[in-house]
Symmetry: C2
DNA sequence: ATTGATAGATTACAGACGTAAATGAAGAAG
DNA sequence: CTTCTTCATTTACGTCTGTAATCTATCAAT
């Protein structure tokens, strides 16, 4: 089952914490960046449980939630999906697209150069 | 308004044709790659009209549809959205991700090398 | 003019999503 | 033991999506 946009925001909170979090913790973590009511966040936690993207272990009265889906896997699925749909499944055309749109920063450029070089050296 | 996945499949057909197409043409173009009923495609065309992503000009009995939203713009919105959400808004980390996952083909590598070189030369 | 075909417009309907309120159960307080 | 509090679970509800069927208007044929 795919993780929805709203759900992924909650996942982000859990991914950032290496420790299991209570619902209250999650609510607190999102207090500044979102204006979701607590009930909304509870719903999202439950849907994520249903999708088995997170797990919950009882801690007395409440539960502690932690990510079960790995961020890397999520990122990969999403990215591959987009690259398959829009760029024929290859990464270079995406980079070319951003290059042509003038959307490659100096930093990007430098990092890409370093990456390529590194790959060339070790292949 | 965002273009949905199903709608984008119809857009693809229109993007590929430099000529306006009738609904029947679109149905024909999708016959092999999808198993949508004609009614479904009509619905999608109408929704795209509603979103003003395509335009229709009467041609006797029927309409001829053509893309109004440019593919480049669509691709850019989608790609930027993903890169912002998952890679801090920069392209290089996405490439790094695929590199680490061992998902950069020889072809990708070569193309990236060429791209970087070209950008270096002209900057 | 009536009838049949055809293309577009309207309606349908279940599931996902964003957003949340209401309810229920279990522990804390008195 | 009864009551309050606090979580979690259930229910809600409008919109969007995927997927179509049906209705309607118009053009062609008789």
């Amino acid at each position: 089952m795919p993780i929805s946009d709203a759900e992924s925001v909650v996942m982000d909170v859990l991914w950032r914490s290496r420790v299991p979090m209570s619902a209250e913790d999650v609510v607190a973590a999102l207090a500044s960046s979102s204006d979701w009511r607590e009930a909304t966040i509870k719903t999202l936690l439950n849907r994520l449980l249903g999708k088995r993207a997170i797990s919950a272990t009882r801690d007395g009265k409440r539960y502690l939630y932690s990510a079960r889906l790995k961020r890397e896997d999520y990122v990969h699925t999403e990215s591959k999906g987009l690259i398959d749909r829009l760029f024929g499944g290859r990464v270079a055309p995406l980079v070319a697209h951003f290059s042509e749109a003038g959307k490659l920063s100096k930093k990007d450029l430098a990092e890409l150069r370093r990456l390529i070089e590194e790959l060339d050296n070790d292949a």
